[in-house]
């Protein structure tokens, strides 16, 4: 009886750890994509990057490949 309980306990621990690992790795990826707005502070670089995205460089070109 004791052995049964111990094996079930270990399996439970294993399952919980797998579940936590899975959640942890997914969480990291989600965090990378999110912007932390809790402090309501933005760096100069963040603003400059967003401004850059609004414009097209004058020498911008479309690539269709080389002929030779």
């Amino acid at each position: 009886m004791n052995k049964k309980i111990i094996s079930l306990f270990f399996l439970l621990v294993l399952m919980v750890s797998i579940a936590f690992t899975y959640i942890y790795f997914n969480q990291i990826e989600t965090d990378e994509r999110q912007y932390d707005s809790s402090g309501k502070t933005v760096s100069d670089e963040d603003i400059a990057n967003e401004i850059d995205d609004m414009f097209i460089e004058e020498d911008d070109e479309i690539e269709i490949g080389e002929m030779v």
């Binding site: 049964k4 094996s7 079930l8 399996l11 294993l14 399952m15 797998i18 579940a19 899975y22 912007y35 707005s37 309501k40 502070t41 933005v42 100069d44 963040d46 603003i47 400059a48 967003e50 401004i51 850059d52 995205d53 609004m54 414009f55 097209i56 460089e57 004058e58 020498d59 911008d60 070109e61 479309i62 690539e63 269709i64 490949g65 080389e66 002929m67 030779v68």
Partner: protein, 261 residues
């Protein structure tokens, strides 16, 4: 017996969890590959939500195609001089010329301008690859290198004029964006905007001046401006992404339809 069945159930649960995680990973990999292929075009169609942006992209495609046609013609002339059979290459060039006319007559104000642009760009890319592969079969590496060097020096008045025109249209596009940006910032547009349009101030310098104005504002105001610009950029990016996905789904449906017939 009960013990074994409990263990079996637990094992099955474990396997299902791990397979779920693996399936998720595989899906992500496929998505990443797809994103790599389409990211360039996705970025290009982001500005096509207005007719000026669509016009710029079509003009840029026209320039790329025209330049390739001229380079191709030059290469064919060299090959004719070396007494090669250039029939296949000339046939590809005439297809490219027909395509160039299609690009020139494409309506930038049309609701389908994005779809038209993507399809014309893909065709241009395919014909260019076709030409490159055909000429590669005809010549050895040394001759190819020589031709590559000769056509690299090609100067065309037609391409230069088109280039100037595109630069003006891009300047107009950026000028409009600067006005919108000043609207978001809540400041009356400064002389920098006009200086940029007149060509006395570069785009980078104009952006720098604008950043300076924003950086002098309060933390809250900066955050508000940042949020507005970011949400507008995101809206544009999502729209472009959705459009490509929608086109991809349509393509798949067509493919499936063909398979069923």
């Amino acid at each position: 017996m009960k013990k074994i069945s409990t263990l079996l159930i637990l094992l099955m649960m474990l396997i299902s969890i791990s397979s779920l995680s693996l399936a998720d990973e595989a899906g992500e990999n496929n998505e990443e590959e797809q994103e790599d292929i389409d990211s360039e075009t996705e970025k290009e169609i982001e500005i096509m939500n207005n007719s000026l942006g669509a016009e710029i992209r079509l003009l840029q495609l026209e320039k790329a195609l025209l330049r390739n046609i001229l380079k191709g013609e030059m290469a064919v002339q060299v090959l004719i001089g070396l007494e090669y059979n250039t029939a296949d290459l000339e046939s590809i060039l005439s297809d490219m010329k027909i395509l160039l006319e299609e690009v020139r007559t494409a309506n930038a104000s049309s609701n389908e301008s994005v779809q038209i642009f993507i399809s014309l760009k893909n065709e241009s890319r395919n014909l260019t690859t076709q030409f490159r592969e055909t000429i590669k079969e005809l010549l050895d590496d040394e001759t190819l290198r020589e031709i590559r060097l000769r056509i690299r020096e090609m100067v065309s008045e037609q391409v230069q004029n088109l280039n100037k025109y595109i630069r003006n249209r891009i300047r107009q596009f950026n000028f409009n964006q600067l006005y919108r940006l000043y609207g978001i910032v809540g400041e009356a547009s400064s002389s920098f905007v006009n200086d940029y349009f007149n060509g006395t101030l570069s785009l980078n310098e104009t952006k720098l001046q604008l950043c300076k104005i924003i950086n002098q504002m309060t933390k809250e105001k900066r955050f508000q401006i940042f949020s507005e610009i970011k949400s507008e950029n995101l809206r544009r990016q999502i729209h472009a992404h959705d459009y490509l996905e929608h086109m991809g789904d349509k393509g798949k449906q067509k493919g499936n339809g063909k398979g069923q017939h």
